[in-house]
Symmetry: C2
Subunit: 149 residues, 2 copies
């Protein structure tokens, strides 16, 4: 049960924008240099976050992205749902799934609903401001996209 690079990169993209946007719109070129992403890949993620009303863009030279709202008002859950599609642990709990016709006979649904709930509660309780306020260190970049060889 893993979060994909979409969700992980989208989080770090949002954190990067939150931290850097005071000096104007943050371009994906800058972000990619700081975070070790390819511009072409995070373009897609930026698009998703924009569509979800999390980022705003200004096009053209010196353009880039800014937060559409205050960082304190954006949750990690929102970012993950926008990038990953959903944080539900089983497909039958996705918003677009509708009601499962087998729901009444299902022995595991209430277990999955409980899991879904603790996940949502947690990711919605953490704001982008919380994430962005951690001390900044040299050589930012992370998780495990690290070549250990």
């Amino acid at each position: 049960m893993k979060i994909s690079t979409k969700g992980r990169y989208a989080l770090r993209l949002a954190i990067d924008v939150a931290r850097q946007q005071e000096s104007g719109p943050v371009s994906l070129r800058e972000v990619s240099e700081r975070q070790g992403f390819s511009v072409k890949y995070i373009e897609q993620l930026a698009g998703l976050l924009m569509h979800a009303g999390i980022l705003e863009s200004t096009r053209g030279a010196h353009g880039g992205y800014t937060l559409a709202r205050d960082a304190a008002n954006i949750s990690a859950g929102e970012i993950l749902r926008a990038s990953e599609g959903s944080t539900a642990p089983v497909a039958c709990l996705d918003d677009d799934f509708g009601v499962c016709p087998m729901r009444e006979q299902c022995t595991t649904i209430s277990f999955w609903e409980g899991l879904d709930k603790v996940i949502e509660t947690y990711v919605d309780s953490v704001s982008l401001a919380d994430l962005a306020s951690q001390p900044i260190q040299e050589g930012e970049m992370c998780e495990f996209e690290v070549d250990l060889s």
Copy 2:
């Protein structure tokens, strides 16, 4: 972030065994008929659960599987970890990953650790006895492996 069929089927397999084992070892043929699984596929899962000390087997005719321990003493988390490998939301928190060399500079690790913790706490709080004690209905089978066409 989805649980794969391994984890979902393994849970239902364990529930089925828990419910049926009073009348002797439960064969995978029976389970597959009740749950709509292929015998060949859940053979693998049964093997994983056995290796993890959750199931015990008796071979030969009239053989099958029984719980290695009391159902109240087996958690859903154990079953998921045995079948899925891990319930951690990011690979750097898997047991076999070791310590990430970038950990100190990572802006998201504490967020993922928190998520991992709420997931583990929840799945370890639910026992197989809890799951198996739900009322049994006709046409048992579930989740969303249902042909909606």
